[in-house]
């Protein structure tokens, strides 16, 4: 797919988010183009979900901007073009799988046959008439994913969609994400499982509200001189912490002098 034109569909510019009196994201700047599967990786509590919420426009932002297709995140014009899968499966427990997907399909103007196709793509056709309450955790999460892909949004923002799935399903879902990206969509997938890094076209490594690395999986391994993504991530965190401890009080940009000098 060399001829896919890469645009920056999502532009995050100096984003800062505070939650509960703490800074959860400090000064995030990045872009997410169409045609790629971008992995947002980091440990639990690193700010992945908060960044995702800012991109879909449901997060109160302290500073900075998030622009999607040239419009501020959450604008009326973007609703229906952005597919958001929340971290906990946000489907109705007291409805069947099919009823859930049909409802979310109808909300974005998709048809019943689109709903059937979405169920097929997440391999839940056999459970279509089962109440979500009776599904396993992994099945619920796939039902939730079906509710996102059913509207064929231009941007898919998926918060930990592969957690708790067996290896076969994980492989199939990553194949689905790549198929969606190859179709010219923007796909952002978060995970706290470092092994999933190798399945992405590009990685954003988040640690304590900052982007620790922005690289291809191969680039990350080379840069950290590590055999696998998990050790690469650990090496990068150690390096960052050593820098933080050695650098003294003036190390990080963001002290009073730096802040005043910045735009």
């Amino acid at each position: 797919m060399a001829d896919v034109v890469v645009h920056d569909e999502v532009v995050v510019d100096h984003l800062r988010v505070d939650r509960g009196g703490r800074t959860v994201l400090s000064d995030i700047t990045t872009t997410i183009p169409a045609g790629q599967v971008v992995g947002l990786l980091g440990p639990s509590g690193s700010g992945k979900s908060t960044l995702i919420r800012a991109i879909v426009g449901v997060q109160v932002v302290a500073r900075g901007t998030v622009t999607v297709f040239g419009q501020p995140a959450g604008s009326v014009g973007l609703r229906g073009r952005v597919g958001y899968m929340t971290q906990s499966p946000s489907v109705y427990e007291d409805l069947t799988v099919a009823a859930n997907v049909r409802y979310f399909a109808a909300v974005v103007g998709a048809s019943r046959s689109d709903a059937d196709r979405a169920l097929q793509r997440v391999d839940l056709t056999a459970y279509r008439d089962t109440l979500v309450r009776h599904l396993s955790g992994g099945q619920r999460s796939r039902a939730s994913l079906a509710c996102v892909i059913v509207g064929e949004p231009d941007i898919l923002v998926l918060d930990e969609p592969t957690v708790g799935l067996d290896p076969v399903l994980r492989r199939d879902l990553w194949a689905l994400f790549h198929a969606l990206a190859d179709g010219g969509r923007c796909v952002l997938v978060s995970s706290h499982v470092m092994d999933e890094a190798t399945r992405c076209d590009r990685l954003l490594l988040l640690h304590e509200g900052r982007i620790l690395a922005d690289a291809t999986p191969e680039g990350l391994l080379t840069r950290a001189g590590a055999p696998d993504p998990e050790s690469a991530f650990l090496a990068l965190i150690d390096a960052a912490e050593v820098a933080a401890n050695d650098g003294g009080p003036h190390r990080r940009p963001g002290g009073p002098f730096f802040r005043r000098g910045r735009q």
Binding site: V58, R79, S90, Y92, A99, V107
Partner: protein, 244 residues
Amino acid sequence: MNPALTALTCGRVLRQLRGDPRTIGLLLVVPCVLIGLLAWIYNGTRVFDAVGPALLGVFPFVVMFLVTSIATLRERTTGTLERLLTTPLGKADFMFGYALAFGVIAVLQGTVAVSFAVWVCGLDVKGPVWMLVVVAVADAILGTSLGLLASGFARTEFQAVQLMPAIVLPQFFLCGLLVSRDALPPVLGWLSNLMPLSYAVDAMHAVSSTTDPGVEVVRNLGIIIGFTVAALVLGSLTLRRRTP
């Protein structure tokens, strides 16, 4: 607001309720049991004829308030509301969808409760019985809309449950059921005029005590509908798309 999306949400809420027959059973049976209990307590006196109609207005209001505030809180905590707010579904579509769905349930509940009170418990009604049903349904939708508005101020289940006594009980005390509204101290009488449940009870009294209550009922219904729409609009304005 988009009528198609509102209807869609209404249908979804009804489908959820249909899958929960026990809740529907409770919604229909509990008011009847309470009314039956009262009729029995006041057996042989005129008290039931005096308070019965008012209670037919109060029960659906209280029940729908509770059910709605829990239902919307559930949408919040499971993330379905957050997801919906990123779709073309408007906040008003969400609010009015819920109000419509519970309105349908209210028609069932009102019909059953009024029929039980009149034909089983022998409630003496001078006006047309169907008007009692209409007022009961309006009360139920009022309860739903206030529940939707109130749930916006609750972050946890504990808070949501306590909003019921906080918002419902003062209205219950001042609606004319315990002490007639014109016998209240002036300040309380004035407060009573600000509370929507008072007009519901006035309408019920009008139906039960006069043979031609049409004008009085329409006037009170108009006020109830006004409160309902105001609560729904305010509810959709206070529903935040972005949260901290």
